[in-house]
Symmetry: C2
Subunit: 305 residues, 2 copies
DNA sequence: CTGAAAGCGCTTACAG
DNA sequence: CTGAAAGCGCTTACAG
């Protein structure tokens, strides 16, 4: 309060009469803050066709940001070469970066970012990074899935992902965890990398002689169920299928999909809280946070034939 | 090009060396444009818990905006008294306003908006408004639903909505269309306005002696199915239920929900295109646009008992 | 307690 | 063809 209340009241009255609004863009320029957080999807294929996962993620982020008076900007289709440039254009106070890659080149880029970054669904790279990483326990999730199948008598397993996702961090983590877990138990394993849209998948799978398939996402599992139906392979009696995420989508597949659940909304909300603290200048005490997974058993898994 | 190519090249090189980025906030201030569109939900209850409808809407808007180089900001939880103020803070070039009310007070507010507004899921008010209105053919949708039930032998119908939605524009339109359509055919009708979460709904419904219920959204229909299951009323053998929207949600209910489909993603994309044209200064040739509905028959409707 | 100036980083119109 | 100034609408630090 630098002005007498009387005068202030008068100014307020005039402002109201003239319909005055403070211009937030000018304020943002002056303060070098925008009260706006970006959510970056490197390849958002459409919110509605894409995994429901994305919706839960946005929901978690939005719940925190709106509560704290921040705005949320959706970022997608940004030129990959210029992501940092886009982040540094002054319009965002921070960014939540989905499935942030962790190759050295990207980590070097992150280092140059003028705004804080929280990665979601990516474990921290071993060689350090300036971002904070929020992820689920992919290893634990895979163990739950394998254990469930093992107890049903399965001994030959496949892990499935599409070739274009070969570098997606949580895909890599799930694949590696699968490899390790299954080799330990059964001595051998099959990793099936398939072309986009699972072309030729049925032949690839039968070559592995597996009785159970773990797909790295529920979306992919749903696609697989369709291919298997076309090929007249019965799920779960001939083949058990497990997915990852366990959103409502798993209720819409035929049969309903057994899936590992990650608490995506909680993860997203945590990421948002953490980011706002970083924006406020607090140093994050933890560099990475891992949320546990659970397993939702539905109808796509059964005892091995 | 105001500078020789040689000099320009030199400047580019220096800019790159210094890691120069143009500051978009300063540019926005100078140009009074931000290349950002807002999507306003007056009461977004959560993206993930809420109707899938919202996701499709965002998807449709985002597909157009990203393609045209615009950013998308999510607006929710804005103080209702100050919505126009928030819109006029300079941060948005235009806004897509979900379920925009059409009372005279709101229309007067719209008139004061410094940025163009496109309303979605609201028909244009009869007394004129500065916004462009994009909606689906609620009347036609209701007719499809009633006709379907009529052909199944139903003669006593109820229409259901929650009291807090009494002023939501598409709720009103569906209710009025229902009233008109059913009175014409059957001579009488029942409109059931229920408290939130459908408390006491079963008694209310049985008092109407109806054999079929049309719910104004699929979300509400899903809730009703749960209440009916608890009360041991079988759907569809004892009571037929129809919802509105027909997203993937209808596949997850038990039984699967028969629903009127509105092409929400197309409507949202159209709204975004229209808004960008308005932002570019083109006058919209149409003041309102209506998309037709269709009916997806699933398992929640059957011949009248 | 109050007023006037400087400056955030751009773009545009003007002068040379 | 190029440079320098004005101004977008704020906030902050300074002077009175």
């Amino acid at each position: 309060m630098r002005v007498s209340e009387e005068r202030a009241e008068h100014i307020r009255a005039v402002a109201k009469r003239l319909n005055y609004r403070v211009n937030a863009v000018a304020r943002n320029l002056r303060k070098s803050k925008t009260q706006t957080i970006g959510v970056l999807f490197e390849n958002l294929k459409g919110l509605a066709d894409g995994p429901l996962y994305t919706t839960h993620l946005l929901d978690g982020v939005a719940s925190v940001l709106f509560h704290r008076g921040y705005r949320l900007t959706l970022l997608a289709g940004i030129d990959h070469n210029d992501i940092i440039g886009s982040l540094g254009d002054g319009q965002l106070d921070g960014v939540i970066w989905c499935k942030l890659a962790r190759d050295e080149e990207t980590v070097a880029l992150i280092h140059k970012s003028p705004i804080p970054i929280v990665a979601i669904n990516a474990a921290a790279p071993s060689y350090g990074s300036d971002a904070v990483y929020v992820t689920c326990d992919n290893t634990g999730g895979i163990e739950l899935a394998v254990d469930h199948l093992w107890n049903l008598g399965h001994r030959r397993f496949s892990f499935l992902y599409e070739s274009e996702e070969v570098n997606t961090p949580d895909c890599v983590d799930r694949r590696d965890a699968f490899q390790k877990e299954v080799v330990t138990r059964a001595g051998k394993t099959a990793i099936v990398e398939c072309s986009w849209k699972l072309e030729g998948i049925v032949d690839q799978l039968s070559a592995t002689e597996c009785t159970a398939v773990i797909c790295w996402t529920e979306r992919l599992a749903g696609l697989l169920l369709e291919k298997l139906r076309d090929a007249k392979i019965e799920v779960p009696s001939q083949l058990s299928v497990i997915g990852f995420d366990s959103t409502q989508f798993c209720e819409t597949t035929t049969p309903r999909l057994t899936a590992v659940r990650q608490p995506i909304r909680e993860m997203a909300a945590f990421a948002a809280e953490t980011l706002l603290n970083l924006v406020a200048g607090e140093k994050s005490d933890q560099h990475s946070k891992v949320f546990p997974c659970t397993l939702d058993v539905r109808n796509s898994t059964a005892p091995a034939a």
